[in-house]
């Protein structure tokens, strides 16, 4: 089975998701829910086989599959994972389970379609992480937009049309430039779409810079980096909770993944030459966005901005070119998957009850929802990078690594210790603590067993990675070392 594990991971949820559409009729919601949960659990268990069967000693692609697809253009169905993509795939399957549990009680209309959309998206996202052929990658990359477009457009909030179109156009604009770059590389490489071929391709600086920028546009939009970030708060605000979770936890990571798979190895010289700009934009994200987050009155917007600020650490860690920062950035991606997902679920719990995302609506929630308060404070602290949670590991390693590169860069990045705590804890204070001012808050009921379940799962992962990140660092180490040594060699 191992030989086709990646294919199974991609196609099982896509076909299974389509199958769940069979339960679309009224009265079949229960069947749709159960089937989706079973499927997502099977997916998670299967993805663990990637982890257990993974060889940490090699940077080569593992679980490879290769078959000819479109002969005329030399496009292949080529899959594989390394230390960068494997943890991201496991993160994807984990978060899909969470989203299914989270949607269990909350989604009441078009239940089968809702779950089917998430499951199909799961397969496509795994496809993005596993594709080793540029065209296959591009295909998954673009197809991924469709389920998310539908999720926001159908189950979203009142302003969802504006948000979906903005989200769609932003990402499409970026990815079209990537397509141009891929076509250029196809010609340049003598007709190959194999990503590994591009890694070996020598190019002059001018060309590298153009290629770099084309990829950069696609991935910077996805991360998102300042100043192409404004689609994210709108998309989050309008998306249903599950959509926000997947968007923040997985889709943003595709941008980071793209940098590691395309920008750094294909255009190492341009990456070095333009690193200063990327670092500057990352620091702007960390600091400027933190200030913007501070004053948001809408909880989802605040967390969306917080996501952008945290993703600044990812891009910063990539472009200071040392092992510590690079590993920190990867851990930050995984950790942000747990924490941002959890933060959106925390808001979702409140939204499901009072249908308001306004901070001003709440106050004193801890009094009526003590269990919820425990998780909310835990994830808020993780969001503020408290040691012992996964949120600390990435930021810590990136700051240490950045300090090796330049002490001032590290100093600016470390401001997040104060700013991140400020916007997170201020929100916590206004929502969770203080006297109850709104009568509606008194009617709130504490977490249901489903809510306890998904909160607990994420809490366990957040703390486990915080207390012992070494297993995670272990699987990434060789791949990242190899990447760094590859990037250190000029391709001019």
């Amino acid at each position: 089975m191992s030989a086709y594990l990646l294919s199974i991971l991609i196609w099982l949820p896509i076909i299974g998701g389509a199958g769940i559409l069979l339960f679309s009729k009224q009265g079949q919601e229960g069947a749709a829910r159960t089937a989706s949960l079973m499927l997502s659990l099977v997916m998670f268990v299967l993805s663990l086989r990637l982890w257990t069967g993974f060889d940490k000693q090699t940077a080569a692609m593992q679980f490879e599959e290769k078959a000819q697809w479109i002969k005329a253009f030399n496009i292949n169905y080529h899959l594989g994972v390394d230390g960068i993509s494997m943890p991201l795939i496991v993160l994807t399957t984990l978060l899909t389970v969470i989203v299914v549990i989270a949607g269990w009680e909350v989604i009441k209309t078009r239940v089968a379609q809702y779950f089917a959309a998430f499951l199909m998206m799961e397969g496509v996202m795994i496809g993005v992480f596993a594709a080793q052929d540029a065209m296959l990658f591009y295909l998954f990359w673009e197809v991924m937009l469709i389920p998310m477009f539908l999720i926001i457009g159908i189950w979203g909030g009142p302003n969802r049309i504006y948000a979906t179109i903005k989200f769609f156009l932003y990402t499409l604009l970026g990815s079209l430039l990537m397509l141009v770059a891929l076509l250029y590389l196809y010609n340049k490489s003598g007709g190959s779409f194999a990503i590994s071929d591009y890694h070996a391709l020598a190019m002059p600086m001018g060309v590298q810079k153009w290629i770099f920028l084309a990829f950069f546009m696609a991935f910077a939009v996805k991360v998102p980096m300042v100043p192409v970030h404004t689609w994210l708060p709108d998309a989050h605000v309008e998306a249903p909770t599950g959509g926000s979770v997947i968007l923040a936890a997985i889709m943003l990571k595709m941008g980071g993944y793209g940098f590691l798979r395309f920008n750094l190895p294909i255009t190492p010289d341009a990456s070095h030459a333009l690193a200063g700009y990327v670092i500057a934009l990352s620091l702007i994200a960390v600091i400027y966005i933190a200030y913007v987050a501070l004053v948001q009155g809408d909880m989802k917007k605040l967390i969306a901005y917080s996501s952008i600020s945290h993703m600044g650490f990812v891009t910063l860690g990539f472009f200071v070119f040392n092992q510590t920062a690079l590993e920190g950035a990867m851990v930050q991606m995984i950790s942000h998957g747990f924490i941002s997902g959890a933060m959106f679920l925390v808001v979702g719990v409140l939204y499901d009850r009072l249908h308001s995302r306004d901070i001003a609506t709440y106050g004193g929630v801890a009094t009526v929802m003590p269990k919820f308060a425990f998780f909310a404070v835990l994830f808020a602290m993780a969001n503020a990078g408290l040691p012992g949670t996964s949120g600390f590991v990435g930021e810590f390693l990136v700051i240490l690594g950045a300090f090796q590169f330049n002490a001032w860069v590290a100093t600016l990045a470390a401001l997040t210790l104060v700013l991140g705590a400020a916007y997170t804890l201020w929100m916590v204070k206004r929502v969770m603590f203080g006297p109850i001012k709104n009568e509606d808050v008194k009617t709130l009921v504490d977490l249901s067993s489903h809510e306890m379940l998904f909160m607990s799962i994420l809490a366990v992962f957040t703390i486990a990675v915080g207390v012992w990140p070494n297993p995670l660092l272990d699987v990434m180490r060789t791949t990242l070392e190899n990447l760094l040594s590859h990037v250190a060699v000029s391709k001019l």
């Binding site: 913007v292 501070l294 040691p387 012992g388 700051i399 100093t411 705590a421 201020w426 204070k429």
Partner: protein, 652 residues
């Protein structure tokens, strides 16, 4: 022994988990018995460890590898030596007292179990901090105690002032941690390791490394020491990062004693003492520490003069005493700083718990102006607090006398930049300390009872769970001074855990003076005290308090009126809080609002994103007009096109 090391903090963690997650199952009694037994166990084990270390067994080893990144192994591990063993005993002892006391203080609170869970969790975190053998775990413990402090200050989370205070405490501490984390990053950069032993061994070789700063070339060691000290300033509430500590009094009194007086706030002092091999190599850093510590010592003590809230007097006293410890660090008298840390832990925990005992009796009234005459009603509280006050004022032979006198003498012996200022600051501080301590005693326990009917009702001495910890803390407040004075002063108590260069060794100079004739070290010290200013200043402070509050009670008001501007300045805490609130809190919100409105929504989203959408929209509206649907329009356009094409063909 390794099992014992591991067990000591884990017992506390276990107690916290049981009381926290299973609180509803084990019940109130179950929660307090569970946590108290666990902390008692931790205390006994700490004493065993202490004995073992005294016997010469020092341990330094890793427990597990937290992470391996960039060729550096980040470990979690223990360094058990004289310094950490001493801290373990102090922490677990005070924690045990506070656990017992809490039964009485919190017995009406509905969230009883949660409180026990938090204080046990705190003890765990504090133990991990002091037992660490590396900077990473130090930072873990550092932030974890900060987290519990946050949770406990805001324990009564429906109280607006409490949840403001806990956020303020966390954020101000985060400013310190910002420096601290950069300091740690600097250590890794300079030494390639975060392990104490490795770093300290290499430190003398790193003196030549220079950093480019806006102030010219500075030794990297100085930069690192200053950054680490910023962390200490946050945690140990040194000016100007002191603003959070007085507000932290919003939390329940037991935690004011445990966290915000005896243990957590001394983490900064401990950290600098632990890093003595680094600080010894940077006189610039030592001078900065001297000056900041001295400023805290005197200026915070002065604020204590005008406070009427019983807990706030003790809180400002704590700030001032932390300043004393910091001064000792700056004078390279690390062992004296830890000595004072220990004695202060006992008598300050005693004073806080005593204040708490008064507060329970007064039905949670904290204003001393409504107290008075409690001496007869609460004799145990009175006597134990009197002992605590004598110790705080530095009257021989109480514990504070030895440690405080040594600080003053060490600063006197120091010849670093700022030492003279520091000497006079701490000297003046003695008078102020003695005065406010006894002002508190007299306003609370002497004179007429000024309480109203409601408070008078049921006014009685606190129950045994409250008074026994007071008594047990009063004992070390009396004897800890002369018990440990000799070993500490002779310089071998802390063994190799503290490094002092010969040219900075102020403690040795003081010891030299005190060794002389046949009265023994302690006798000499007491005799010596009678001929030096601190003792007389302390007596004068008490005497002045007697005059102002017992003999002629109209004097304080007159003085306050005569020096009205100064009184106002002290009452407003030098306006530091207000200025910080305006600049940092309000300023950040304004900045955020401006950026959000004008840059994010205005320029980027409104201008570029929706702007380009509008441009495209406008363009298509204009283009659409060409699609009129009338055939003759299209025919006409075709003719024009045709003519243009033919013309072009002919001309070209």
């Amino acid at each position: 022994m390794t099992t014992i090391y591991l067990l000591t903090p884990l017992l506390c963690l276990f107690g916290a988990i049981v009381a926290g997650f299973l609180g509803h199952i084990v019940g109130r009694k179950g929660a307090h018995w569970m946590t108290i037994l666990m902390v008692l166990g931790a205390f006994i084990l700490s004493v065993l460890v202490y004995k073992d270390v005294q016997a010469g067994n020092i341990y330094n080893g890793a427990l597990y590898t937290w992470g391996l990144s960039g060729g550096v192994s980040f470990d979690v591990g223990f360094l058990i030596d004289e310094l950490s063993a001493t801290m373990m005993v102090v922490v677990t002892f005070v924690s045990l007292m506070v656990h017992i006391y809490t039964i009485g203080y919190m017995h009406e609170d509905p969230a009883y179990q949660r409180f026990f869970a938090f204080i046990s969790l705190f003890t765990f975190a504090m133990l991990m901090l002091v037992m660490s053998n590396n900077f990473l775990q130090l930072f873990f413990g550092w932030e974890a105690v900060g987290l519990v402090s946050y949770l406990l200050i805001g324990f009564w989370h429906t109280k607006e002032t409490a949840v403001f205070a806990n956020m303020k405490a966390f954020l101000v501490n985060r400013v310190g941690d910002f420096g601290f984390l950069l300091g740690i990053a600097g250590v890794l950069y300079l030494f390639g390791s975060l392990d104490y032993a490795t770093v300290f061994a290499q430190a003398p070789n790193a003196q030549g490394a220079l950093a480019q700063t806006p102030f010219g070339e500075v030794k990297w060691l100085t930069v690192i020491c200053l950054l680490l000290f910023v962390g200490a300033m946050g945690k140990s509430a040194q000016v100007p990062l002191h603003v959070w500590l007085p507000d932290s009094m919003e939390g329940p009194t037991p935690i004011s004693a445990l966290i915000h007086a005896a243990t957590m706030v001394t983490a900064g002092i401990f950290m600098v003492a632990r890093m003595s091999p680094l600080y010894e190599l940077s006189e610039v850093a030592l001078s900065a520490i001297l000056i900041i510590g001295a400023t805290t010592a005197i200026f915070m003590a002065l604020i204590g003069l005008v406070q009427n809230d019983i807990k706030r007097v003790v809180a400002y006293s704590t700030l001032s005493q932390l300043g004393y410890m910091t001064v000792a660090l700056g004078a390279s008298a690390y062992e004296i700083a830890i000595f004072h840390l220990g004695t202060h832990a006992f008598f300050k925990a005693l004073l806080f718990l005593g204040a708490g005992s008064v507060i329970i009796a007064m039905h949670h009234e904290q204003d001393m102006r409504k107290m008075g005459g409690l001496k007869a009603i609460m004799p145990i509280t009175y006597i134990t607090m009197f002992i605590g006050s004598l110790a705080l004022a530095g009257i021989p032979p109480f514990a504070g006398f030895f440690s405080k006198d040594m600080i003053i003498e060490s600063v006197h012996a120091s010849d670093l930049f700022g030492a003279t200022y520091a000497y006079y600051a701490v000297l003046l501080g003695v008078f102020v300390t003695a005065f406010y301590s006894f002002r508190l005693m007299f306003m609370t326990f002497h004179g007429k009872n000024r309480a109203d009917e409601h408070m008078q009702h049921g006014l009685k001495e606190s129950p045994g769970v409250v008074t026994w910890p007071l008594i047990l803390l009063a004992i070390p407040s009396v004897i800890a001074g002369w018990l440990f004075f000799e070993p500490v002063l002779k310089g071998n108590y802390f063994g190799s855990s503290i490094t002092v260069l010969a040219q900075h060794d102020t403690v040795a100079q003081v010891a030299e003076v005190l060794h002389g004739s046949g009265m023994g070290l302690i006798g000499n010290t007491v005799l010596h005290a009678f001929v030096t200013p601190p003792f007389w200043l302390a007596l004068a402070g008490i005497g002045f308090a007697v005059y102002c509050y017992l003999i002629n009670p109209s004097v304080p008001a007159k003085i306050a009126q005569r020096f009205a501007p100064i009184t106002r300045m002290l009452e407003n805490k030098y306006w530091v809080d207000n200025v910080f609130q305006k600049i940092f809190a309000d300023g950040s919100v304004s900045l955020g609002k401006g950026l959000s409105r004008y840059i994010d929504s205005g320029l980027i989203d409104g201008g570029i994103v929706n702007g380009s959408a509008r441009v495209i929209g406008g363009l298509s509206t204009w283009l659409r007009q060409w699609q009129s649907g009338f055939v003759y329009h299209y025919a006409f356009a075709m003719i024009i096109g045709l003519v243009a094409l033919i013309g072009w063909a002919i001309w070209a």
